[in-house]
């Protein structure tokens, strides 16, 4: 058989059914005596909810708008509460793609007035995009930007409009409101024309062109007669197979209403969509809103109970809240209310979507938020590290054995990827001025070649971030920030530099540089093996080669052990990492992840901004007053600190320790049965043989209790650091 003689078939409720090329799914269904929803006046214009069916698994699709395709599966049963099979759980790609386009003018609707408007714009030399539902371009919404978004046969299209949006969507035909208006066999005049043109027989036809004469439709499921009032006011039964509704039109102006008032573009409406036709009379009986099954009696009921505003009537009666979003019922609801209240209320807010589309379609072009990867990401994964998202980055949580990692730091040597740290270079004649105003420390007392741990405060005097300032020369400094805080910090620094009009150059190097922390009692030995003869002293920094790679080496310590932080060009990170591991083999080196680090730093009582601090952490509350020099000239947050220092202290971040296993982070503290705060960080300390914690503790009468209960167990307030109080190991 040749292809052309093969009958085209789609599947309706499990049955293969032939259709003719050019049919919409609806026409194909009607051709075969199927009626999608069981009744209601069909419009074939995409306006009404009467042709809804489930197509290829998507429910509530307007079948008049979907071209019939061989093999497409249609189910008319979506309203029968059929429970679909549970969806599979695997990664789902969006069902379509999305494209962006830019134009001076968008014309929506390509009827006579739309064509003319587009032509006019083109002759004026403007770039024009035209969209028309009949050509498979359904405009679903008009958004700020201005953007006109359409579902097209090639996927989603987002048109960015520079000058004008012209709405030429024509007019929709009015539906009848009368008893029996949800029978099958009702259709608008245009629909009837289209069906006849498609070769469907409509049987005996009655045309209704005067709403005032229409009394009701009769029939079981299909219309068999129309009852009309004759000139004498007498009811006449007219037998029929099809009732053709020719009651005039109502402007299809939803998109115009949606777009009106958008900043930055002109919005106009032309043609039939622009007509301000009167609303039809609302009869006393019949269904008004078919989507939500709202009858005139329901409108009357809510009206009688004080729901008079159109928006309230909509919400109380639910008219206009279904698939067609008021397309069919709005003119009648307005007219009903005008009859009752004496004024015609404006149409309700036109919200997107103008036409429903699936979430799969909407999702097209969406992306996940990126989780950043360090230059060592591949190296960690190759080492089978357990990777976690933390502070916006993928970071190794452990490499399989956090305890071994922990002990490598405490007893031998270990390395950690700290490339995620925020890193910034500041240069310029005003560099010192900028930093002195930004930070609460006296930056002027940092000597060249030295570093200092610093807090960064916001205007409210609350801790924003912490990090390190290192002085390279009188006019050049490097800054570090927490991994999660780096982006905010960059904006913060630039914003102030600009506000103060300072002469500085700023370079964010967070992603440009890799950073590896070498830590443990044998760190110096390892670096010696890597060729570093003169490692920096505690809190100083040098530029030198490590394993042949140029680095800036900072000496500080977060783990509590002798530590060197090596900052280097990102490209060199893998080589440096591998070389250090090789050179450290006989020192029992192993890399450590975040899990071990969190414990190591907690033994030292080092806070993590964001974990141990809250939105309202003042330096005083977290015992960092030493980091704030109130005797220096103004700095960001100074006024707030001066003010809040006068208020009594209500809570502090303090160290706690207890026997036995750690509580969960977040566990409550109680004193005499009363809530007294909560744990922010807790770990079993392998080296101390007890649990150590940081916690927010409430003061009572300006005093912090010495003992608290956590989950029914006593804990003791303990000075931090818990481990190596003098810091001898870090300074070794």
């Amino acid at each position: 058989m040749t292809e052309s003689s093969q009958p085209l078939k789609l599947i309706i409720d499990g049955q293969p059914v032939p259709f003719v090329k050019g049919d919409s799914v609806l026409v194909a269904m009607l051709r075969n005596q199927h009626h999608p929803t069981g009744g209601g006046c069909l419009c074939l214009g995409g306006d009404c909810p009467h042709c809804l069916a489930t197509i290829d698994g998507v429910a509530y699709v307007r079948t008049c708008q979907v071209p019939a395709r061989p093999g497409c599966v249609v189910a008319c049963t979506h309203h029968a509460h059929a429970v679909p099979a549970l969806p599979q759980t695997h990664h789902v790609e969006p069902t379509t793609n999305a494209r962006h386009q830019h134009a001076d003018v968008v014309v929506i609707g390509q009827g006579k007035s739309g064509l003319a408007a587009a032509e006019l714009a083109r002759t004026a030399g403007q770039t024009v995009v035209t969209l028309d539902a009949a050509q498979g371009q359904d405009v679903i919404g008009i958004y700020p930007g201005a953007q006109v978004v359409a579902r097209t046969t090639q996927g989603m299209l987002i048109v960015h409009v520079r000058q004008e949006i012209i709405v030429a969507t024509g007019a929709a035909e009015l539906h009848p409101v009368a008893l029996g208006n949800s029978l099958a066999g009702l259709m608008t005049a245009r629909a009837a024309q289209q069906l006849q043109a498609a070769g469907l027989s409509l049987g005996r036809i009655v045309v209704i062109n005067d709403a005032n004469r229409l009394v009701r439709f009769e029939g079981e499921s299909n219309v068999t007669a129309v009852v009309v009032r004759d000139d004498q006011g007498l009811e006449q039964h007219v037998g029929c197979d099809t009732a053709v509704i020719d009651l005039g039109t109502t402007p299809r102006n939803m998109l115009h209403r949606m777009a009106a008032g958008l900043p930055g573009v002109r919005v106009s409406v032309v043609g039939d969509a622009a007509t301000n036709s009167d609303v039809p009379n609302c009869p006393a009986h019949g269904l008004v809103c078919h989507c939500s099954q709202v009858g005139v009696a329901d409108l009357q009921s809510v009206w009688d109970r004080g729901f008079h505003e159109l928006e309230l009537v909509k919400r109380a009666s639910l008219a206009g809240t279904g698939t067609c979003q008021g397309g069919v019922c709005l003119p009648y609801v307005r007219s009903f209310l005008a009859n009752k209240g004496g004024t015609l209320q404006p149409a309700f807010t036109a919200r997107p979507l103008a036409r429903p589309i699936t979430m799969g379609e909407v999702a097209a072009g969406g992306h996940h938020h990126v989780t950043l990867r360090t230059p060592l990401d591949g190296v960690h994964r190759a080492a089978h590290a357990h990777m976690e998202r933390a502070g916006g980055w993928w970071r190794p949580w452990n490499y399989g054995d956090w305890q071994a990692e922990y002990w490598a730091v405490r007893e031998a040597v270990s390395i950690m990827d700290v490339s995620t740290l925020g890193k910034m270079l500041i240069s310029g004649p005003d560099a010192l001025t900028l930093l002195d105003r930004l930070y609460p420390t006296k930056v002027s007392t940092i000597k060249t070649g030295m570093s200092r741990y610093v807090l960064l405060l916001d205007e409210k005097g609350y801790v924003l971030d912490d990090g390190l300032i290192s002085k390279i020369s009188d006019t050049r400094y490097t800054l570090t920030f927490t991994s999660g805080g780096a982006t905010t910090a960059e904006l913060w620094v630039r914003d102030w530099a600009e506000s103060w009009g300072l002469n500085v150059r700023i370079l964010n190097q967070t992603m440009s540089l890799g950073a590896i922390n070498v830590t443990g009692p044998l760190a110096k030995e390892l670096l010696a093996r890597a060729g570093l003869e003169k490692p920096p002293e505690f809190l100083s920094h040098v530029e030198a080669h490590v394993a042949g790679i140029p680095c800036r080496i900072f000496r500080l310590s977060f783990t509590g052990e002798l530590s060197y932080e090596l900052h280097h060009a990102a490209v060199n990170a893998p080589v440096l990492w591998r070389t250090l591991l090789d050179l450290g083999k006989s020192l029992n080196i192993r890399p450590h992840g975040l899990e071990a680090l969190l414990k190591l730093r907690l033994e030292k009582g080092h806070i993590i901004v964001g974990q141990d601090t809250d939105f309202d952490s003042t330096p005083r509350r977290i015992h960092h007053e030493w980091a704030v020099k109130l005797d220096k000239p103004d700095f960001v947050g100074k006024h707030a600190v001066l003010r809040t220092n006068k208020v009594s202290l209500d809570k502090i971040l303090c160290g706690l320790s207890m026997e036995g296993p750690p509580p969960i982070e977040g566990a409550n503290l109680t004193v005499d049965g009363n809530y007294a705060g909560y744990v922010t960080s807790a770990t079993w300390s392998p080296i101390l043989g007890k649990t150590v914690m940081l916690a927010w503790l409430k003061l009572s009468n300006d005093l912090a209790p010495d003992r608290v209960m956590i989950d029914g167990r006593p804990a003791q307030r303990t000075e931090t650091p818990f481990y190596d109080k003098e810091g001898a190991r870090a300074k070794a």
Binding site: N97, A98, R99, H100, Q101, H102, I158, H160, G365, H367, H368, H369, V370, L372, R373, T374, P375, D377, W393, L425, S427, G428, P429, T475, R476, N503, V504, R505, I506, L507, Q509, M511, S512, L513, A569, A570, V571, N572
Partner: protein, 127 residues
């Protein structure tokens, strides 16, 4: 997935006026990423700038790929909300496919650059 190459470059941060005065080259790619910063990629090396405070840093963290005009147009139109400039060659930057990219657009091809932390996602999203 297209292979992403490293594009080592020099970043120069200085005053807008001094950067305005830099002599660009016909062989190197010079991208003015901000009023106070430019990227210099390729040879000859970046000229010296008369600013003792300038920050001049070699940066090895950018990776990317050259796309044909056809591939570039398809990718950009599917993933970019803003309109690319029409002059050639030209530098543009902004969000494409949810990533902060820098684009160098020549008559017949386009260079797409991101910083390393975004590289894996760029690879995926270029498909």
């Amino acid at each position: 997935m297209p292979k992403l190459d490293r594009f080592p470059l020099t970043r120069i941060v200085s005053t807008p006026a001094l950067l305005d005065g830099i002599q660009t080259s016909t062989t190197a790619i010079v991208m003015r990423t901000a009023p106070d910063e430019l990227f210099w990629l390729g040879s000859p090396a970046a000229p010296v700038i008369n600013d003792p405070h300038a920050i001049i840093e070699h940066d090895t963290s950018f990776v990317g790929t050259w796309l044909s005009t056809q591939a570039a147009t398809a990718w950009v139109s599917a993933n970019c909300e803003w309109q690319l400039p029409t002059t050639r060659p030209v530098f543009a930057q902004g969000e494409v496919a949810g990533l902060p990219v820098k684009l160098w657009i020549e008559p017949r091809r386009m260079l797409v650059l991101v910083q390393q932390p975004f590289a894996a996602d760029l690879g995926e999203r270029l498909q």
